[in-house]
Symmetry: C2
Subunit: 253 residues, 2 copies
Amino acid sequence: MKRTTSSGEVPTGYDPLQFPAFAVTVDVVILTVSDGALHLLLVRRGESPFEGMWAIPGGFKRPTETLDEAARRELREETGVDVASLLVQFGAFGDPQRDPRMNVVTIGYLAVIRDVGAIVAGSDAADAALIPVSEVLDGKLELAFDHRRIVCDAIERVRVELAVSGIATAFVGTTFTLAELRGVYEGLWGVQLDAANFRRRVVNKDGWVIPTGRRARPGLAGGRPAELFRVGRAWNHSGLTHPQRNHQEREVE
Amino acid sequence: MKRTTSSGEVPTGYDPLQFPAFAVTVDVVILTVSDGALHLLLVRRGESPFEGMWAIPGGFKRPTETLDEAARRELREETGVDVASLLVQFGAFGDPQRDPRMNVVTIGYLAVIRDVGAIVAGSDAADAALIPVSEVLDGKLELAFDHRRIVCDAIERVRVELAVSGIATAFVGTTFTLAELRGVYEGLWGVQLDAANFRRRVVNKDGWVIPTGRRARPGLAGGRPAELFRVGRAWNHSGLTHPQRNHQEREVE
DNA sequence: TTGGTTTTGGTCATGTCAACAATAACCTCA
DNA sequence: TGAGGTTATTGTTGACATGACCAAAACCAA
């Protein structure tokens, strides 16, 4: 049995070129909620291969920076925002044929930003757009490289993270109404949540949301003005779970 | 604002060496539960740097294989087992100085195997050992490279995964008693669980465990023989949660 | 047979949560 | 100004989950 260690059977005098060399890139899936639906930021490729197709923004990792720094740099170059509400690594992708030109391993990052409308407009709007993720998941919109799979993994991660931690607050502004926050859950899970029960669950969560005294102005349709909240610091412990039917059938098929 | 896409500003006629080249490795954190405590498989490094120190097994990704294949290959080379109960990627590590020799980006994999005792014995036992993770977390045992951080991330992932999915069954054999399964939770969470309540929670979970008719032989101390279960297929939906005190104080500090 | 040990089943009180009803506070339009 | 519409919030209720605790069952060793 061959024994190898983390960096392999490297003799003391090594030659870097003797080992398989890869290009390492960082790709950032930038998400936001708009009109109650999850959207992601895509850019149109200007070069071959996949010229003219939509892709998620990304670029080479530089030898002097960490992966996190590379992701933050890419996000800044793409959107101009310096810090996202959330920027976490969610996976690495290294299939041999994922880039037809050379061997590229990419590290996927997930970024959540609050209101990206103005940001995309300020950017080079010609080749960047906010696309509903449903179009990607449906397969209606084809993406370059293996970016469809990368996006799918990112979405899945968001859904899980939403249940296990308080990611939802990353999608809303610094102050928000509970209806807005509820919309994030409904959009990402594709469910309808009871407003009354949602309120109780969220407000009772220890340090989850903090009421500011103020109230939001009602929408065009009127209605009682909603209370304004800001995020508490404890949005990282036990998240919300999917609502489960009261009368779930307990049959073991 | 500079616009880059996933593979950067690569002209059509590209020269691979013109872009930052990295070595890509796959490191596998191999976990098992032994004597009610979580252990991990470490190998002793035979070469510089960090010669003689403990490290997690790993090696170079080959250009023709996927990351998952590389992880499976490393696991097989190290333990001889062909397929783990669980083998998932959990993170990428690419700090510039993590390897003093060259720029190495490593992809961390988490492997869970059932009974590793015989396996390690069958391997080249001189430089491989099962170490309690507590010794690594305490800092009592120093690891090569940034492997301590990699291990910490893996453990954290296991703890979360344990609550959100049914990872626990990956630690036990194909048939198991509820005491064994409970021991996994107790070992990983560092808590004591009531046997009666644990049984109800696990058995009531839809498709979680399936009773085989057989019973285990009692231990040396006697006791009623335990029922033997096997894992159901639905161990991926809503996991168990930490037990929470009945009278939790609800103060907002 | 007796005492020890482990598993399994039962009870009870409390807490959580979904469903639903009712009220409060705003809007627009007549 | 008032009526009807809309949204947010509070209340109530019943089903279920869960933790604490107790008791019985089924084995061992002596």
